[in-house]
Amino acid sequence: MTATAMKNEMDSVDFQNSMTLETSTAWQKVCTKADLVAFSGVAAWLETAEGSAQVAIFYLPSQHSKGLSSELFALDHFDPFANANVIARGIVGDLKGAAVVASPIYKQHFRLEDGQCLEDESVKLRTWKIEFRGEEVWVKG
């Protein structure tokens, strides 16, 4: 079996697993509020139903950001343009009404809410549900 074929095989297995595990995917504690950097990002290691993932977590305290629906966001740490895990180290901002992070390498912008790249419609980062539980930060894997 070639490497490509093997990958396809695994993708389809993963796909089925994720479909079946979707409802049972557990929320998990990732870190505490003190680990976060306000108005910036940190990276976390996440075990999910689809395997392990590097996740960028951004914290935008609501008292200083006008009118955002959420103050926590989790999306891929992996930058598909640079092929490197760097998204958490990008600059956070808002463009055309949406909170975004700019890749620190080639500066593409990704919407925090849904991972959509603003410069390239075909590129979208994965996102995860994330919330505070008291001082703890929980992500739905």
């Binding site: 976390a44 950001s65 490197a84 895990n85 808002d94």
Partner: protein, 837 residues
């Protein structure tokens, strides 16, 4: 006319005027009718002779060129440089050069002029030169290598230009003028006296009423000049600049009509006595006059183009009004400046011996029209006076108010509103206010657009300020709001944000955006405004960039105080001031690189870059470097990078100053200064310039007497030679000027604008910069120096600050919930070191 076989047009001469004619032909369809061949005797293609003296202050032949290297070829015009025409054969209709014979249908003579060398015995001695072409300048530069003194014969416009060039070459310079005053054509006795005072203050000796009798061997110097009264002057180098003469030999050789004192006689269509041959520029004699300025030459080129293409534009003489800055001294002359061509004219004069300013108005007998004006020491009213003169605008009831100092009831400058449509704005390119309005109406939306469409202000540049005020006024009156906002979060430029931060003492981004940000955003900022504001805050208050309030503003490089590479790892560059490093420190660098598997490379800025450091290793790496006495190199910041140096007088046989010592001192003074973009210095220990200082933002070159300071150079994508800013400075003068210069740059530049681009966009150019920094024209120098001293006094190594603060170190973790390193970073080996796979 048979359109399939174009006529052969030969242009003889590739100077400014000849080139202008080619541009007319290219831009206006002339090439459909003519196959054009241009002969240039010099090896360079057409260059800007007006700014020739800048060749000694950093500009090279390429930057003085009037067009791109491929302009002629691209447009199908054959340019033959380095090929002199020796004869025109009117019977066979051929132009003969040293390389061949070329048939012609029409010829345009644009051979210009040559410098007149007075018939003095000894005028052909070695080291007796002229000032006209780039090759002349090369010869002057070569001769100056072994000279300490230089004399310019001729105190006119070109003579003073030449004197400036000699000063630029660090020669003790004297100017000798036959008449009783400098610039006898442009100024009167009062003006000439003031001009002399100012020029003598610059260290240039001025000798008037001197007729040189002969030049012979000197005793202490190369030459001895003997004058009419047997007085003598010794010098190593002599430059003749005693006027110009038309280069009319070709025309004489083929029998064209020549004026009594030279010059090819032309009519209003620029035709010579042979209608197949035209002449333009300084070789042409029109109405008994030779026009030695570029603007009339361009007008002749336009008339010649019209004649060649059956148009009806004629040359009808030209206004010789001119505004100059000679040796840094303003001189302006408008119309009948001496008042001797208009019987009954009345004169107003204003003389300020303290400020050394002289102004004179020549007014019609009824007091209503301006006939001429003369300015020495201050040209600020020139534009206004020229508009009164050339447009016949009625003078105010008190004409003297136009030349009285501001604040004493002087008349306001004539605003762009008051100018008629026919007002000439750019006389080099014949652009009127109407043309400018036209270009705006057909889509030009800013100054650059208007310049591109009309070419206004691209000749001598003298009308830059006037053009801008007209364009601004016209755009405004059309309701165009020029949006210079930095981004969608602030409706301000970087400069305006800087002023707000300083004036209001705002110390955080959140305070700034709450008070001054645009209401319709989430007030998060973005990757444009946040780093810009971070830089402004750092320049003003110099708090550590890793403080909690500032950290989200920084680019990743500043956040982690290292340079992110393409695979997400970082490179580490400790400061090695001046490129000087002890063996012990070198060993530490090697040991650290080995321990953390870092790829090592020597940088262009004379330090060592260690690549491939993982985020989580950065604090340990820096702990070891700091323990060994290193500090951060700010390679990641928009801030001072390096001060490159050559080894200087401590080792080098040729060095005249301790360049390494100065480089280290300067690097330590300015390290940590946050600025709109990175800043690089170079210090060379002698004129051989081994540190390549002239390619840096700040370049310093040692002289026998101290330091010469160059500013606003750049390497990189668009190389630019730094320009000579001040000469023979002692150590303290040097750093004070740099203090002011850098702070003024920090204050006024745009985000990510290097000093070179900033300088090119600076209204008023180098002269303005000198006025602000050297003469304190804005009265801000004390403040600039104080501000810099604050930055210097509050310096701290950001890495030392970070590794002593556990809170700051928390961010240097690969994952907040896991200690493993990022498994996706994979390295491979090449030439004995690691690199990204």
């Amino acid at each position: 006319m048979n359109m399939t076989t174009p006529e052969q047009l030969i242009i003889i001469g590739n100077g400014m005027v000849g080139h202008h004619l080619v541009e007319q032909l290219v831009d206006n369809g002339g090439l459909e009718r003519y196959q054009v061949t241009v002969f240039g005797e010099e090896r360079h293609r057409a260059y800007d002779r007006v700014h020739l003296s800048e060749y000694f202050s950093g500009r090279d032949a390429e930057s003085l060129a009037l067009c791109d290297a491929d302009y002629y070829a691209t447009n199908g015009v054959e340019l033959r440089t380095g090929e002199a025409v020796i004869e025109i054969d009117r019977t066979t209709h051929e132009v003969i050069t040293d390389q061949g014979r070329y048939p012609y249908d029409r010829i345009v003579l644009a051979t210009g002029s040559y410098p007149f060398v007075p018939p003095i015995p000894g005028n052909d001695r070695e080291g007796c030169l002229v000032y006209r072409t780039l090759d002349d300048l090369d010869a002057i530069r070569a001769a100056a290598e072994n000279a300490t003194t230089g004399v310019v014969v001729g105190g006119g416009l070109l003579g003073l230009e030449a004197a400036n060039a000699l000063r630029g070459l660090n020669l003790d310079t004297a100017v000798i003028e036959f008449a009783s005053r400098l610039m006898p054509m442009q100024v009167d006795n009062e003006g000439g006296e003031l001009l002399r005072e100012k020029i003598e203050e610059l260290g240039v000796q001025v000798l008037t009423e001197r007729a040189t009798q002969r030049i012979e061997d000197g005793e202490a110097s190369q030459h001895r000049m003997v004058f009419q009264d047997d007085k003598i002057l010794e010098t190593d180098l002599i430059v003749f600049s005693a006027g110009i003469r038309p280069r009319d030999q070709l025309a004489r050789g083929c029998g064209l009509e020549i004026g009594e004192r030279g010059g090819v006689v032309v009519d209003d269509q620029c035709q010579t006595s042979d209608p197949a041959i035209l002449a333009i520029g300084e070789v042409a004699l029109w109405n008994q006059s030779i026009f030695g300025l570029v603007a009339p030459g361009y007008q002749m080129a336009k008339a010649a183009f019209s004649t060649l293409t059956s148009g009806d534009t004629h040359f009808s003489g030209a206004d010789m009004s001119t505004k100059l800055k000679l040796l840094g001294v303003d001189v302006g002359s408008i119309g009948d400046a001496h008042g001797n061509q208009n019987p009954g004219a009345r004169m107003f004069r204003y003389l300020d011996p303290i400020k050394q300013e002289y102004r004179k108005l020549v007014v019609s007998s009824d007091g209503k029209k301006l006939l001429g004006a003369m300015l020495v020491g201050n040209n600020s009213v020139y534009d206004t006076l020229l508009q009164y003169y050339s447009n016949g605008i009625e003078l105010p009831a008190e004409p003297a108010s136009l030349i009285l100092p501001q604040g004493s009831g002087a008349a306001p400058a004539l605003g762009p509103d008051a100018l008629p449509e026919t007002a000439m704005i750019c006389s080099c390119h014949n652009v009127t206010k109407g043309d400018i309005c036209g270009s705006i109406d057909s889509g030009a939306m800013d100054l650059a657009g208007v310049k591109g469409a009309t070419k206004a202000s691209t000749g001598c540049g003298g009308c830059t300020a006037l053009l801008k005020s007209v364009v601004d006024h016209e755009l405004e009156s059309r309701g165009v709001e020029v949006d210079k906002s930095i981004c969608e979060h602030f409706s301000y430029t970087r400069q305006e944000l800087y002023d707000i931060v300083r004036v209001e003492g705002i110390k955080t981004f959140s305070e700034l955006i709450e008070k001054h940000g645009n209401a319709d955003t989430h007030h998060l900022g973005c990757d444009i405004c946040k780093p810009a504001v971070a830089s402004i805050l750092a320049s003003c208050f110099n708090e550590p960039i890793t403080d909690a309030a500032h950290i989200p503003l920084q680019d990743t490089n500043d956040t982690f105080m290292a340079n992110m590479q393409k695979n997400g790892t970082y490179s580490v560059v400790p400061r090695i001031a001046g490129g000087e490093i002890t063996p012990d420190k070198l060993i530490v660098l090697g040991e650290v690189a080995k321990k953390y598997s870092l790829y090592s490379k020597v940088t262009g800025g004379q330090r060592i870059d260690l690549f491939g450091a993982r985020l989580e290793d950065l604090p340990d790496i820096w702990g070891e470097l700091i323990a060994a006495g290193f500090e951060t190199g700010h390679a990641y910041g928009k801030s001072l990078r390096t001060v490159k140096s050559c080894v200087g007088s401590t080792w080098c046989r040729y060095g005249v100053q301790d360049s390494v010592g100065m480089a280290i001192w300067l690097e330590n003074r300015y390290k940590g200064l946050r600025s709109p973009h990175k800043i690089k210095f170079g210090v060379s220990g002698c004129t051989r310039e081994c540190a390549e200082a002239q390619s840096k933002d700040i370049g310093i070159i040692a002289t026998e007497n101290g330091w010469n300071l160059y500013v606003c150079g750049n390497g990189g994508m668009r190389p630019r030679h730094a320009e000579l800013f001040a000469t023979d400075l002692d150590d303290e003068q040097l750093y004070r000027i740099i203090d002011r210069f850098l702070m003024f740059y920090v204050r006024t530049a745009d985000r990510l604008q290097r000093t070179s681009v900033w300088r090119e966009n600076l209204e008023g150019g180098l002269d303005y910069l000198k006025e602000v920094i050297l003469e304190d024209s804005l009265g801000i120098n004390d403040e600039l120096e104080r501000q810099m001293q604050t930055v210097v006094d509050t310096y701290q190594c950001e890495w030392a600050d970070a590794i002593s603060d556990p809170e700051k170190l928390k961010r240097f973790r690969s994952f907040v919930n896991d200690d493993r390193p990022d498994p996706s970073i994979i390295m491979t080996s090449e030439r004995g070191q690691l690199r990204p796979a």
